[in-house]
Subunit: 582 residues, 2 copies
């Protein structure tokens, strides 16, 4: 990075707040530097020009490179690294997360100690050796509804095996990341059938490929084909045709089937879902980092771009478009740290069930709200960059296309909102009237609205904003006051406080004016606030977003490098000229 | 198309209303059939798997095919055809629109009769022969701000020529569609400089390539490279280095420069912008067709997809997600016909200026609001299809990526909103209180809110909704009443009527309930309402959206056809296996 510009803010202190303490902040910066210097892992502008095949090859090479770190650092540190590389290579991130996160966590969360020992260490899945797993839950006809899975696992007492079968097209496992080319094994969600009785959906490890990486008998797999984004991921479909697996390939921590076919069901079925919550927590954290990336790019551009005589960021309309996202990003950074702490403490002490339930709700609310906000943020930041937001080299298009699936997978956002709302069905209305703007007042107003409103999606969103705003307040320092206020005004503007008579119409109109004023306080510090994220040019991977603010020079250079102007005549030109000269 | 299912609605009558009369409706159906039967122009699922190079070649071949129609039908009919093919091939649409629309319209709107005669007929630009034009307005450092162009056109009295020059990087013509490979000529927006005096931005025809299609001296061109979408368009950048053109290559209908360098400025500079309004009108119309496409797909899928026992369209939450878009699409269909009439009548009778000003405002309001709505519609419909919305073969991803640039080009939506708001700066507040839901009541409420609200973007949107809702009301038949009501409730929910005390909070809460009820009235007719669009499977080009409603069979077949399962081993696999077996 070039010599740093002056920052009017205590940049290191703020960065430490954003990353959850000095040690974490230093760790993050070390990873930024590792990635920037690594010839394979560092971002490149030519990624934006690659075909699907080239992207998949790059992803495979990067997986190989990343696994080397797995041998030198802790699992927790490795996941931090993975989260950060995900900011610019979401395909890479999810490919490893499916294997080490979904597949292996599923075994750890649902397998007996012997089973965990076997798959993680004996078979070396933990080091990404020999075994590469995929997560075969979703079916063509059943998305978020796990209980509706139709794949069957029939116990064959005679041979002490389960027979895994896909009964019809709708039960085909679908969207399975890693299945098309990479995975050697699947964790397969299937209905346990013993002597004609259906015990509901349980989990089975089903091998897919042999040691030469050829498909095993009874396994049919195909590539799911072209997608909106995530071109580096080999999503596939799987059909099982009477595939036999030994009885001990069923994960038996909670539900057990013995040699005689006696089934012991778990005390609390939900416990098997704890292993899925980590993914949701990480998606909320990812939302912070991706928003920080695009807020940085859009604000840097807006601070340089001139129109009708002024820098566009000096226009109140442009401030209103971008600066709330800056405030939301700060709130997400701080709030999702707290969620991460909740996850890490889940098994510590008594009352695991109670904490798991709370985390289930909080992670559902934050995953859905933050991933939606991030999709909006990327899109709004793109639009705020005008036409240049449409260039692939500025990063928006690919990030949006890669990102939005976060709103759908591991719990569709709308379905998650329903769970959140369901958990609050015994609310008592809390009456409150906001008289004057303050962060505490906004929190009380949100509580009141939450107690009265019906829409499940609104309930889930409000719960998330309460969580983020109250976390932000706990860590507040004077330099961040304008941002927390902007965030508060954003909440007031976005939800129907007037409709539920918590805010008077006249008061909201005066809030609108105060909001505009608060934005003008943020304006002179906008670039400094983004510098506090400390995201490197390598992470941003955006021609118009680079630290040196030489927007047009950087952009033109990237366009010329990627598309050398001496190549003026593409292969299809003769056809075009034939028409023109007909 | 297979045998038609029963429709509980008067399908032909409604289709006629949607398309503006029986003759238009028949014409549209004829074009649908032409396109479906044409081997080159018909849509294909393999388009979703093509690389940029393949997409560009396909686009060139399709341009060639389309130009054949140009020789057998009227310009107006040809543009109708072009608008319709744009529903599934936006790159094709815009490539021809740049040439016949922007380039040629610019000459027609700003050239003298002799100039129009010369370029359109002598040089055959009207038949897409010899001349292929591009529209060189936008510069790297200046997007929507035409008056800020920095390219110069200096009159050289000695040789009776203009010298066109790009003074610095920021003045490089940027995003110019067709420039990278195709265009032979540009209409170039540049500052007229005569004897040191700057007369502002005028328009010049500047040749780019010679008869062998090589770049002319002084012309530097490169490909703009990878973009979010529109991969079939060869956007380029252009730098002019002291390029000499004859004086009569300046378009001189409004501003004239004679042999001696005397400059005669036009009475009303704005007249030169009328030629740009057609593009905006067409983008509003396109919004209807693209919304119809994705509303059809999402509703068909929702009518088949089952979750937790029910068809998902039976859930009120899902009705709320999708059915308002159906209503908005109907309103757009009817409202944008009216806008089209306004455009066609612009030069008929006295008061061209007055009509042009009205059209300037209406088209700005409808272009910005409808293109934004359409972007949201595609995205919301995608999300409503869950994971399957993310598959390229269902059409959403490519359409979104191709579409969203409509919100930016030919007048950035936010900048257009500012123009609309500016035209209304002398408003007097109109007091109105809505007491009961009715379409007339909503119209009055919108008028009242429009008279009071400050946000330029909200003003522009409200003006558009007023236009659409009142047009819809004019053409209302009983069978469409549930839809117009849903549209009315949507407007009430979306804008701050309570904040401006036009609707009481309590009343809005009761509207919410009525809204839900109205949606349940639309539900049983939802598929019939989409059938009334009569969009063919060819137009939809979506595996899950086909008319026969065999969602999973169609989808699985397309995935398997595009990705034959016997190809299981991609080129990059050895690298991956090297890692796994290390």
């Amino acid at each position: 990075m070039e010599s740093l510009r002056d920052c009017k803010l205590p940049i290191d202190r703020i960065h430490s707040i954003l990353e959850g303490g000095d040690a974490n902040a230093r760790h993050v910066l070390n990873i930024y530097q590792d990635l920037e210097r690594d010839g394979i892992l560092s971002s490149r502008f030519d990624e934006y020009d690659m075909s699907t095949e080239e992207t998949r090859e790059l992803t495979a090479v990067r997986i190989d490179r990343l696994t080397q770190y797995l041998e030198t650092e802790s699992f927790e540190d490795f996941f931090k690294r993975l989260n950060i590389v995900t900011v610019y290579d979401m395909s890479l991130g999810i490919r490893i997360s499916i294997n080490l996160g979904l597949f292996l966590n599923c075994i750890k969360g649902n397998g007996t100690d012997e089973q965990v020992q076997y798959w993680s260490y004996t078979r070396e899945a933990e080091s990404i050796k020999q075994v590469y797993g995929c997560f075969a839950m979703t079916e063509l006809g059943h998305g978020s509804n796990v209980a509706g899975c139709e794949t069957t696992a029939t116990f064959d007492k005679e041979t002490d095996q389960f027979i895994i079968n896909t009964p019809h097209i709708g039960a085909t496992k679908w969207w399975i990341g890693g299945a098309a080319h990479s995975a050697t094994h699947s964790v397969c969600y299937a209905r346990l059938l013993v002597e004609g009785k259906d015990y509901g959906v349980k989990i089975f490890v089903v091998p897919l490929r042999d040691s030469k990486h050829d498909l095993l008998p009874g396994i049919s797999i195909g590539d799911i084909g072209s997608k909106m984004g995530r071109h580096g991921v080999d999503n596939g479909w799987i059909q099982y045709t009477n595939v036999k697996i030994p009885r001990h390939f069923m994960l038996q921590k909670w539900c057990k089937v013995d040699r005689q076919g006696n089934v012991k069901l778990p005390p609390l079925e939900q416990l098997s879902y704890i292993s899925l919550l980590g993914g949701r927590v990480y998606m909320a954290i990812d939302s912070y980092r991706i928003c920080a990336r695009f807020v940085t790019i859009a604000l840097r551009y807006a601070s340089v771009r001139r129109q009708f005589g002024n820098t566009i960021l000096d226009y109140p309309l442009h401030q209103k478009r971008l600066l709330p996202w800056l405030a939301i990003t700060y709130a997400m950074a701080i709030g999702t740290q707290k969620l991460d702490q909740q996850l890490k403490g889940i098994y510590q002490g008594e009352d695991v069930i109670k904490r798991a339930k709370a985390l289930f709700i909080d992670s559902a609310s934050l995953k859905s709200t933050c991933t939606w906000l991030a999709a909006d943020c990327i899109d709004q930041c793109r639009q705020a960059c005008g036409g240049h937001g449409y260039s692939a080299y500025n990063g928006f298009g690919r990030a949006y296309d890669d990102w939005v699936v976060q709103c759908t997978w591991e719990g569709d956002n709308t379905v998650l909102s329903l769970s959140v709302a369901k958990s609050m069905k015994d609310r008592k209305p809390i009456d409150y009237k906001l008289e004057l703007f303050s962060v505490d007042g906004v929190l009380k107003a949100v509580e009141s609205l939450l107690s009265k409103i019906d829409s499940p999606v609104q309930i889930s969103k409000l719960k998330c904003h309460y969580y983020l705003l109250s976390s932000f307040k706990e860590k507040l320092i004077p330099e961040l006051e304008p941002l927390i206020n902007v965030y508060g005004y954003f909440i007031l503007e976005t939800f129907p406080f007037i409709e539920y008579e918590i805010v008077e119409p006249k008061l909201q109109r005066s809030f609108n004016k105060e909001y505009t004023k608060e934005l003008t306080k943020v304006r002179p510090l906008a670039i400094d606030y983004t510098d506090c994220f400390k995201q490197t040019d390598n992470l941003l991977n955006s021609a118009i977003g680079q630290y040196n603010l030489k927007v047009y020079e950087n952009y033109f250079r990237v366009v010329k490098t990627q598309n050398p102007p001496h190549k003026t005549s593409p292969d299809y030109l003769p056809k075009f000229l034939g028409m023109l000269n007909r």
